[in-house]
């Protein structure tokens, strides 16, 4: 939080909705955060909380019937001509598939997908796929691009990179494929690397290798990383700042220390308690979060977490939508527990709250 310079990417009140036949799904519903150069932002949440849709919104690769309906995504991109100028690009306003957004994808923002098994084309060699990514953005001939691809594979710790380039994805193990995926995302030295569950499909030993690789690369070129995961251990290991999402909203946001040692939102607290921890005694009953994540068409009114919340206040949480509150240290929390004189404020907002929950 000490970085004084303007953040690399500022997301403000982002809203991405899906207009399906069954109804409107507010997959991302007013998300705000900043990503700073050289820092890692961890995004935690369970399935359906909108973390992947947020990441895809940043690159404008939301498939129909999804659409960004509000908010701003501001990318501050240094100019390539050597001057210290910084271009401010509003990603949300670029035309779909126009030249500008295509130059951002891969060039400024790299993306590592969740499943190394399915995110490569099975019928092209790894080399061809990496070379394609390089040549899209760099004016290199085939030989130079191939050399660059070899260099990239070496950088991400793939042994015998020359031979690996000619292998098809099925010939490689999960860890190797994930490394190749990272190599491809890094092909044009992006300012921001979005890693969407980069280690979920991998074993612990491979996971720790990949995490170390990300840390090393970040140290080397000051890249920002947005790390999306549901594994709190990975977040604790990697993140500088953490965003906790629940049903398309940011429930809590703060530094990694604040989130782990001084969590404020009942959801964050419950999440931290409900994971088995190797430092805790075995075979004791785990505190659980009752119920399950609501169906996206069937969103609860008021605070989206209230049906599962241990601190639920009837008449407040199920009626009104909580505002985001900011603590003096910069920790954001969206919960009525921390609203002073909650009831009074609610009356003033009663009408607004009702509108929002419809």
């Amino acid at each position: 939080m000490s970085t004084e310079e303007a953040p690399l990417l500022s997301v403000k009140d982002l809203q991405t909705h899906f207009f399906t036949d069954e109804g409107l799904v507010r997959a991302v519903d007013g998300v705000t955060f900043d990503i700073h150069r050289g820092k890692t932002l961890g995004v935690v949440g369970e399935s359906g909380c909108g973390k992947s849709v947020t990441a895809r919104s940043l690159m404008r690769i939301i498939d129909r019937p999804g659409k960004i309906v509000g908010g701003s995504i501001m990318l501050r991109k240094p100019r390539n001509d050597g001057s210290n100028q910084i271009d401010e690009i509003e990603i949300g306003e670029l035309t779909d598939d126009g030249r500008e957004i295509r130059s951002i994808r891969g060039e400024s923002i790299g993306l590592v997908f969740q499943e190394p098994m399915t995110s490569f084309s099975p019928v092209h060699t790894i080399g061809n796929q990496i070379i394609e990514a390089i040549q899209l953005h760099r004016p290199l001939d085939d030989r130079a691009a191939r050399n660059r691809a070899t260099e990239l594979l070496t950088m991400v710790g793939v042994s015998r990179p020359e031979e690996r380039l000619d292998e098809l994805p099925f010939q490689m193990s999960g860890g190797l494929r994930q490394r190749a995926m990272i190599a491809m995302a890094l092909a044009c030295e992006p300012d921001l690397l979005i890693a969407d569950e980069p280690t979920t499909a991998l074993d612990v030993t491979t996971q720790s290798q990949i995490l170390e690789l990300l840390q090393d690369l970040q140290e080397e070129n000051g890249m920002a990383v947005m790390l999306i995961t549901h594994n709190l251990g990975v977040i604790a290991e990697m993140a500088d700042d953490v965003v906790v999402m629940y049903l398309g909203q940011v429930a809590e946001k703060g530094t990694v220390d604040e989130i782990f040692y001084a969590p404020k939102h009942p959801y964050t607290k419950a999440l931290l308690q409900s994971i088995p921890n190797i430092y805790q005694p075995s075979r004791v009953e785990l505190p659980t979060i009752s119920g399950s994540i609501p169906h996206p068409y069937n969103r609860p009114a008021g605070c989206p977490f209230h049906p599962r919340c241990p601190e639920f206040m009837p008449g407040t949480c199920d009626v009104h939508v909580p505002e985001t509150l900011v603590s003096p240290t910069g920790q954001h929390v969206r919960c009525f527990l921390y609203t002073e004189g909650a009831v009074r404020i609610d009356r003033e907002e009663a009408t607004a709250g009702k509108d929002a929950s419809q």
């Binding site: 030993t205 290991e237 785990l286």
Partner: protein, 364 residues
């Protein structure tokens, strides 16, 4: 550790850890590699290579290891979803008879299958979308010719209640339920025939973290209530530590270490176990960066290295490790290790409990 022979059961845990229910002796499962027009056998994948362990009734025994280490193959052989290449698997039946699952034929296996059930990893693909919950949970009863339609319905309703679902759900289809609820249905189905041994292959790894805790609690409650024995196959070591009494670590088809959970996690004796422990990301930002990382990749089970299979990645390997394969021996009571240097090495595991509580959220 050695003084602590009997398994410490926390308060509320009413289990009785009894006699052996399953003995696995020198279990081997090799898959042939075939090449060419004549499909000649050119080699073998030694998926499970000489695995020996005992399961005691009422306990939870976990098999852990990296993908491809043979833990799922082992569990499938025990259920006789595949026929092992060699070895014995002695199952002690309810009536005291002992049957070798490895050699039994179809008709001999039939009565034993009731006593062994399986919980699957993926609650989305393991339930038939065209069957109602009644059909799904009642199927094991139907197949085994137990009860009439009415009785099956009563039993299915009872099972649903047992796993925390409402009996009204019986006529619904799986699509109406969330992942956690579906996994409960899968558990109800596994319980339908009052089994004694349940093989659970990654039962919580497809679930969300908040739901995972519910299912783990349910599994432990059912175990207390019915004296179930679990053979748990998992790769999430925090989950394994939480639920298991004893843990067996596999590497390239072999058991490399087998001990009680606390001994294994706090005082590992095999370098591989120790590096697995070190790789667990702790949900605690202040314990960052204290990990020694394991280099390299898992050995190829079709062409394993000479000597100890782990030696190319082992930080403690000596010449003997490259030449001779170590034997699986008991170095401390109840603590088995396959390592030449098990007695001399001082390895680090997970630090012992600090009472301050590692995660600060525990005070709310």
């Amino acid at each position: 550790m050695s003084a602590n022979q009997q398994i410490t059961t926390p308060p509320g845990d009413t289990r009785v850890i009894g006699d052996t229910i399953l003995e696995v002796n020198s279990l081997k499962k090799f898959f042939p590699i075939k090449k060419g027009f004549l499909r000649r056998e050119v080699g073998q994948v030694r998926a499970v290579d000489d695995v020996t362990f005992r399961v005691r009734s009422g306990e939870t025994l976990s098999l852990v290891g990296e993908s491809g280490c043979g833990k799922t193959t082992t569990s499938r052989c025990i259920l006789r979803a595949m026929k092992p290449s060699s070895g014995e698997m002695l199952f002690h039946q309810k009536d005291g008879r002992v049957i070798d699952l490895a050699k039994a034929n179809r008709s001999q296996l039939r009565p034993v299958r009731r006593e062994m059930q399986m919980i699957f990893q993926d609650p989305f693909s393991s339930l038939n979308p065209r069957m109602t919950l009644l059909d799904i949970i009642g199927e094991p009863l139907l197949v085994n010719g137990i009860g009439n339609r009415r009785e099956r319905e009563d039993r299915a309703a009872e099972l649903l209640k047992l796993v925390g679902l409402r009996p009204e759900f019986l006529s619904r289809f799986p699509h109406a339920f969330s992942g956690g609820q579906r996994q409960r249905v899968g558990i109800a189905r596994a319980l339908a025939l009052n089994p004694r041994l349940i093989v659970a292959d990654e039962p919580v790894s497809a679930l969300d973290v908040s739901v995972q805790a519910q299912i783990l609690n349910l599994l432990m409650r059912l175990q207390n209530e019915f004296g179930l024995t679990y053979l748990f196959v998992a790769h999430d070591l925090s989950v394994v530590k939480h639920i298991s009494d004893r843990v067996a670590v596999m590497y390239v088809g072999q058991l490399v270490e087998f001990a009680e959970t606390d001994a294994l996690f706090h005082h590992p004796k095999h370098p591989y176990t120790s590096s697995l422990m070190a790789a667990i990301p702790a949900p605690d930002p202040r314990k960052r960066g204290i990990r020694a990382r394991l280099k390299g990749e898992v050995a190829n089970p079709a062409a394993p290295p000479s000597g100890c299979y782990f030696h190319p990645r082992c930080p403690h390997a000596k010449d003997i490790c490259k030449q001779e394969s170590p034997i699986f021996e008991e170095v401390e009571p109840g603590h088995f290790v396959r390592c030449h240097r098990a007695r001399e090495l001082k390895l680090t595991g997970v630090p012992e409990l600090d009472n301050s509580g590692a995660v600060s959220a525990s005070d709310s």
